[in-house]
């Protein structure tokens, strides 16, 4: 089985709300794919449809080429964490994993393995109802790993985690991807995915807005602006303009250069024997890039309802 999620043309309506409006994307193995968008953009709905829990009005969602509902031992194909609170509170963590294991024809030994893997072994016999949200997230991850699946899908796994847990989660997700798994992680906060996701699927209003690598997204948002600090302002402006760049003076000893990459600027200035003290490519933050992309797609923007 190919470790992929292929979503194609999904549409889903809840009453008068069009939750998904032609959602299409592919999640590839070996990387963490961030699934980001404002609240209400359709992240959870898409994930429920991928898992066969909700039926799409149109379109398909395939795991390695097969519809989820046709999978045998589905937990060995896809591990999912949708809602860490989806527990019987009076059942112990180990027993929660035990019935899941039994449903897949697995035994209690596998439950113990994933408990150890997620650091819950010492509290495994306690009632899950007494767990903190962070512990429940770990238990949800343990459940997702039960079948050792090549595809992992998590809905807002950072919610409720303390900083230490977030660091652990990031490393964990990366290590899962490094093993060759396809990892899809949703979040409504881009900052949570910074330094974790390799690839991003940005959605808004039930559609994909951007499907791109993190580097490309930042580059696109940054433009080709370079900040230059030089004591020889006039000479610098002359040689750079000559080389085809647009130069603007922003402050004494400071220039903003557009139209040339930073390396080229350094080369032009060196060739023209113009002194400079600093050349810095301006980098937009991931958050900025995301805000730029989704500003039209926010369902409920701050400062007043749109509908």
């Amino acid at each position: 089985m190919e470790a992929t999620i292929e979503v194609s043309g999904l549409r889903k309506r809840f009453g008068s709300a069009q939750a998904l409006d032609g959602m299409s994307f592919t999640v590839l193995p070996g990387q963490v794919t961030g699934f980001v968008g404002p609240n209400g953009a359709g992240k959870s709905t898409t994930m429920r449809i991928i898992l066969g829990l909700d039926a799409a009005d149109a379109g398909t969602a395939l795991i390695g080429g097969a519809a989820y509902r046709t999978l045998r031992h589905p937990l060995s194909h896809v591990g999912a964490l949708l809602d860490a609170a989806a527990l019987q509170p009076s059942r112990s963590a180990r027993n929660h994993l035990l019935w899941l294991a039994h449903s897949q024809g697995l035994g209690g030994r596998r439950a113990d393995e994933v408990l150890a893997l997620t650091g819950l072994a010492s509290v495994a016999r306690r009632k899950a109802g007494g767990y903190s949200l962070g512990m429940r997230q770990r238990l949800g991850i343990a459940a997702a790993l039960l079948g050792d699946p090549p595809v992992i899908m998590m809905d807002e796994p950072f919610n409720g985690m303390d900083p230490e847990g977030i660091v652990w989660m990031r490393g964990f997700l990366k290590s899962l991807a490094a093993e060759g798994r396809a990892v899809l992680v949703s979040s409504h906060l881009m900052s949570e995915l910074q330094d974790t996701a390799d690839h991003l699927i940005v959605i808004g209003r039930g559609q994909v807005i951007a499907d791109t690598s993190v580097a490309a997204l930042i580059e696109a948002a940054s433009g080709e602006r370079v900040e230059l600090r030089t004591p020889a302002r006039t000479e610098a402006m002359t040689v750079l303009a000559h080389a085809g760049a647009t130069v603007a003076a922003t402050a004494p000893g400071r220039l903003t250069v557009c139209g040339l990459p930073a390396q080229k600027i350094v080369a032009v200035l060196t060739d023209g024997h113009v002194p400079f003290t600093e050349v810095a490519a301006h980098r937009a933050s991931l958050e900025e890039a995301y805000m730029e992309l989704t500003k039209d797609a926010v369902e409920f923007p701050a400062g007043g309802a749109r509908r």
Partner: protein, 528 residues
């Protein structure tokens, strides 16, 4: 982009089938301590209520004819036991002679009149008012002997039920309809050929119709044969709100005029068989070929239950009276076995692990059904075994019941619990909310039974409730048959149900099948 080797799951799962779904659902059930405790509580409560009724309290009684009030074991009543092991009354006025070998007896009945009790200001009711109890009867009887409960066959006229042939207390067949009188006499004939006795009737003494033919195995060569009259006690009792029985009755008597007697050659003896209900009630006169036979009592089975002669006897029904309480606990657990999944969206985890939804529902149904079956079996076994033991130890009279019937009642209680649990689960699956599901399940299964038992609704309405609602399944617990030929209050409180056990189970199963089909349809159709 780097090319990666696709990840291969390190887990080699076992088979993926119904067995895995079952295993998972069983693990789910047994790992919630509250559910396990509730099931044990259901067993304890169900058995305990019945035993409490058996073991506690002291029964008081007073002879129908008056006398001091007695308590406890002094109240113990006993009944004659018929050939089938059932309690019978075997009291009637018998004008008899020994009869050896095959024979044919023919008579004509020209009149059947009687007296009904009327309450007198000072003393118990006595038969003084003209009238007939509907099952007052007179005719020909061939009986193994005069010992109580011995086998017999008889053909007779019954006051309100035409010509009957009855044998061995429980059996009853109908012949010519209509009341007997001077204008409409009834000719009766009883023939014996070995073990086989055949009854005939005729309106004119020439054209005869067979009423029934029966075999009384092991009938001795010499039997007692002759004319008889019996008239059961008047039963004017009614069931009250709450289940109690009130009203009363008293002894009755009937007098038959019989002539054209043939086949009875020897000297006849008039004798009261069994206990006479009042002095001077049984007698006969012979004038020429005409016999006038007066008697009271009945040759019939005694129905168990309230308001009858066996009112104070301990019955299987009283041992199992706690079933409804156990069922309430059971339906709560069974409904929650499903609704708890919806409460916290656990259903999504379940259906992600087992996407074949019909199979998952079936696995849940099998698990909760099996658990409830065992609970019902344990509870009913404990109630019946302990109840019987307590009754014996306290010296009370346990109403006789056949062994296979006990097994059916115990297994039936288990089946009632199992199917009810599956019904509650299906309701829970459809409505998805614990409180609503439990309310509907209890209203469907336990409430109709409770209304009927407590006589909150009239007997007729109660019968309909117990026919058409899932509570029809309580019919599995009926330990004693109702006898059309014996007037009594055949109510749910006494353990009588309007449907046969299998029919009651079928009604309950029908509701459950419909609910389960609806649950499966909705589970497949709805987003989880």
């Amino acid at each position: 982009m780097t090319v990666m080797t696709p990840y291969r799951s390190g887990q080699r799962p076992g088979p993926d089938g119904f067995a895995q779904s079952l295993h998972a659902e069983w693990t789910k059930f047994r790992t919630v301590r509250g559910w396990v405790i509730a099931m044990i509580a259901a067993v304890v409560v169900a058995a305990g209520i019945g035993l409490l009724g058996t073991g506690a309290g002291t029964s008081t009684c007073q002879h129908a004819g008056g006398g001091p009030q007695r308590t406890g074991a002094a109240c113990m009543i006993t009944f004659a036991v018929g050939p089938g092991g059932e309690a019978v009354s075997d009291s009637f006025y018998f004008v008899r002679q020994p009869l050896t070998g095959d024979a044919t007896i023919t008579v004509r009945v020209t009149s059947l009149t009687g007296l009904l009790p009327s309450s007198s200001p000072n003393g118990p009711p006595a038969p003084t008012r003209p009238g007939l109890e509907e099952w007052a009867k007179a005719g020909i009887i061939i009986k193994q002997g005069t010992n109580q409960g011995s086998p017999y066959a008889a053909v007779m006229v019954a006051a309100g039920h035409g010509v009957r042939m009855q044998w061995n207390y429980t059996e009853d067949a109908s012949g010519l309809p209509g009341a007997v009188g001077a204008a409409s006499p009834r000719w009766l004939r009883l023939t014996r050929a070995g073990d086989v006795i055949t009854g005939y009737d005729s309106a004119d003494g020439t054209r005869w119709t067979q009423v029934a033919t029966v075999t009384l195995p092991g009938l001795p060569s010499t039997v007692q044969a002759g004319l008889f009259t019996a008239s059961p006690g008047d039963n004017q009792e009614t069931q009250n709100f709450g289940g109690g029985v009130s009203g009363g009755g008293g002894p009755t008597q009937a007098t038959a005029v019989i002539d054209r007697v043939s086949g009875l050659a020897g000297p006849l003896t008039g004798e009261y068989v069994g206990a006479a209900t009042g002095s001077g009630i049984g007698q006969y006169r012979q004038a020429g070929g005409q016999f006038t036979v007066t008697g009271s009592g009945d040759i019939a089975p005694i129905p168990a239950g309230h308001g009858g002669p066996a009112d104070s006897a301990a019955t299987l029904t009283s041992y199992l009276l706690g079933t409804f309480a156990g069922l309430i606990a059971l339906t709560v657990v069974a409904a929650m076995f499903m609704t708890a999944e919806y409460r916290r969206n656990l259903i999504r985890v379940t259906l992600a692990a087992s996407p074949r939804r019909g199979r998952t529902l079936a696995a849940k149904a099998v698990v909760i059904g099996a658990v409830a079956f065992v609970a019902g079996l344990v509870s009913a076994t404990v109630a019946v075994v302990a109840g019987t033991a307590i009754t014996h130890a306290r010296g009370y009279y346990g109403f006789p019941v056949a062994g296979p019937t006990v097994v059916r009642v115990v297994l039936g209680t288990a089946a009632l619990a199992a199917v009810s649990a599956v019904l509650a689960l299906a309701i829970g699956s459809m409505v998805r909310r614990s409180a609503t599901a439990v309310a509907i399940a209890i209203a469907a299964i336990v409430l109709p039974y409770f209304l009927a038992v407590a006589a909150v609704v009239p007997l007729g309405a109660a019968d309909w409730l117990l026919r058409i609602t899932p509570a029809a399944g309580f019919a599995l617990q009926q330990p004693y048959p109702a006898y059309p030929q014996v007037t009594a209050i055949y109510s749910a409180l006494s353990g009588y149900f309007p449907l046969a056990p299998a029919a009651g189970l079928a009604v309950l199963c029908g509701w459950t099948a419909v609910a389960l089909a609806g649950a499966a349809w909705l589970l497949r159709r709805r987003d989880a």
